[in-house]
Amino acid sequence: MSTVLPPPPPPDASAMVEVNGVSKVFGDVVAVSDVSFTVRAGVTALLGPNGAGKSTLFRVMCGLTPPTKGTVRVLGADARRDRDVRGRIGLAPQQDGLFDRLSAWEFVTLAAATEAVAEPEPAARRALGIVDLDPDDSKRVSGFSKGMRQRVKLAAALVHDPEVLILDEPLTGLDPVQRRRMIELFHGLGDEGRCVLVSSHVLEEVARLGSRILVIAQGRLAATGDYRELRELMDDRPHRIRISVDRPRHFAAALVESGTAVGVSVGADSLVVDTRDVDRLGREVAPLAQRLDARLSRVVPLDEDLESVFRYLVEKR
């Protein structure tokens, strides 16, 4: 079963990435707060809403910014200090910036050369092929669509055959077919024994990755587990539903009396119900309205968005 706020992990010999008590503060803003986890070979998803701290955590892992507190080890080393380990990491950053005056072929060849690949040009050709880009296309990347730029970044991250891949929102801008292909690619890389860390703010995307998930919200690690475990965890939480009805007080009383509602707040022409059994509520609402001779106009879930799931997971701490 998944764990909410796991204790700091013990040293793990098979861990490829170790994050221990990491916090990162920018001025007054706490971007990451006391996060600990380890990641082994395979695909791991870092799931969280925009602004949750995913990119900051990735930057800390890659050594692009030092943690304010705590330690990070990638393949046993600190990427900020260790030149060797930098060549064993492939990063596809979230930001869109590329060397815009280069073609995709030139960009990925440069990436291969700066990663000390012995034969950069064949490596670049192969990496571009993996992401379905034409190595012979001489168009500058400045003229590329968002999806094509994303694939250029992926090719650059893959070109040196890294042991650890850190991919920040890599599926953004890709069409469904490309997404499917990239997800297959990530699994293939994971199966080869690489550590593939993929961030996303889209729950369904992470579900398709079918991987271990680290949920991060408001800079904190809210939960870990696989997708099924995470869904179960989320299903434990009360659901919040707004019911628009012309006799809200009677409706509220009936729902509390039946035990369907664990909390109710009543407004002028609606009520907000907290329930642990949303299916039961769904079954009861229409018959109840009929029984109370109430005019039911709308039933709207208020907390089905990912943000509220994260909030729940964090508050449950």
Binding site: L64, R86, P93, D96, V117, A118, A156, L185, G188, L189
Partner: protein, 262 residues
């Protein structure tokens, strides 16, 4: 789909190769049409004004020595004070500064390369872009302003040497500034106008702390022209300009190593 990419056989990029790779990509990035047109236009203006100055010289009214002094003074006053630092500022501060702003620095930073060659490659890219736009207008402008009299070619050569050395030193300094501050152009213009422009006039000690004092010394000594100030020796000027170049690069490498990269 998951065909493995070729395995790496080396862990590090050798320093020379790292510098060359950095140079190759950044020289293309930094040479944008907008910058070339704007800064090329500034150089063209200097040459045009120099030509007009030479054109308006009344034959026989001033001796050859006076004309050479005029040419050197013009190369100093327009070329070494304005063109050299401004052009160096634009290319030097942007060569790594812009990569920092647009997020591309990560593609040079998260690599098995040491920082110093990256900085050297970047400074070389900035200097390559800047040199034609500083040396040609300064040399040609000085030559034209001296009305092309006998000896004006020496003024042009001395101006070219001073502009080239100044460009190297300023570029190195501005690569550092591009990594130190946001909006480096504003800081750099402040430095050029307030310090380099005025310091020379504030007395000997202040002049020693400005690069212009050394670039104009090169112009005066190499061209063997006395145009109204007490120059440093050639050796002193060369050593100081070289030391500033090296120190700027060394500090930029340290800064790059400590930088927080987006």
């Amino acid at each position: 789909m998951t065909a493995p990419v070729p395995s790496r056989t080396r862990r590090h990029v050798p320093s020379l190769r790292a510098a060359a790779l950095t140079y190759r990509v950044l020289v293309r990035q930094v040479l944008t049409p907008g910058k070339m047109v704007a800064l090329g236009g500034l150089g063209a203006l200097m040459m045009l004004v120099g030509w007009l100055v030479g054109l308006n010289t009344v034959e026989g009214e001033r001796g050859a020595a006076d004309l050479l002094r005029d040419g050197a003074g013009y190369a100093d006053g327009f070329g070494l004070i304005i063109i050299v630092p401004i052009v160096s500022l634009v290319f030097g501060s942007s060569v790594l500064g812009e990569t920092r702003e647009d997020g591309t620095l990560v593609y040079l930073w998260l690599r098995p390369m040491t920082r110093a060659p990256v900085v050297v490659g970047a400074a070389a890219a900035a200097a390559t872009a800047a040199l034609p736009l500083t040396v040609i207008p300064t040399a040609v402008g000085g030559w034209l302003a001296a009305d092309r009299v006998a000896g004006s070619a020496d003024v042009a050569l001395a101006a070219a040497a001073a502009a080239a050395l100044g460009t190297a030193a300023y570029s190195s300094l501005f690569v550092l500034i591009g990594l130190l501050v946001k909006k480096p152009i504003i800081w750099g213009i402040g430095y050029v106008l307030l310090w380099e422009g005025l310091a020379v006039g504030l007395g000997d000690f202040a002049a020693r702390l400005s690069l212009r004092g050394y670039t104009r010394s090169v112009l005066s000594r190499v061209g063997e022209i006395d145009y109204g100030f007490d120059p440093h020796t050639t050796t002193t000027a060369l050593v100081v300009l070289a030391a500033v170049s090296v120190a700027g690069l060394a500090l930029a490498a340290i800064r790059l190593n400590r930088l927080e990269v987006d």
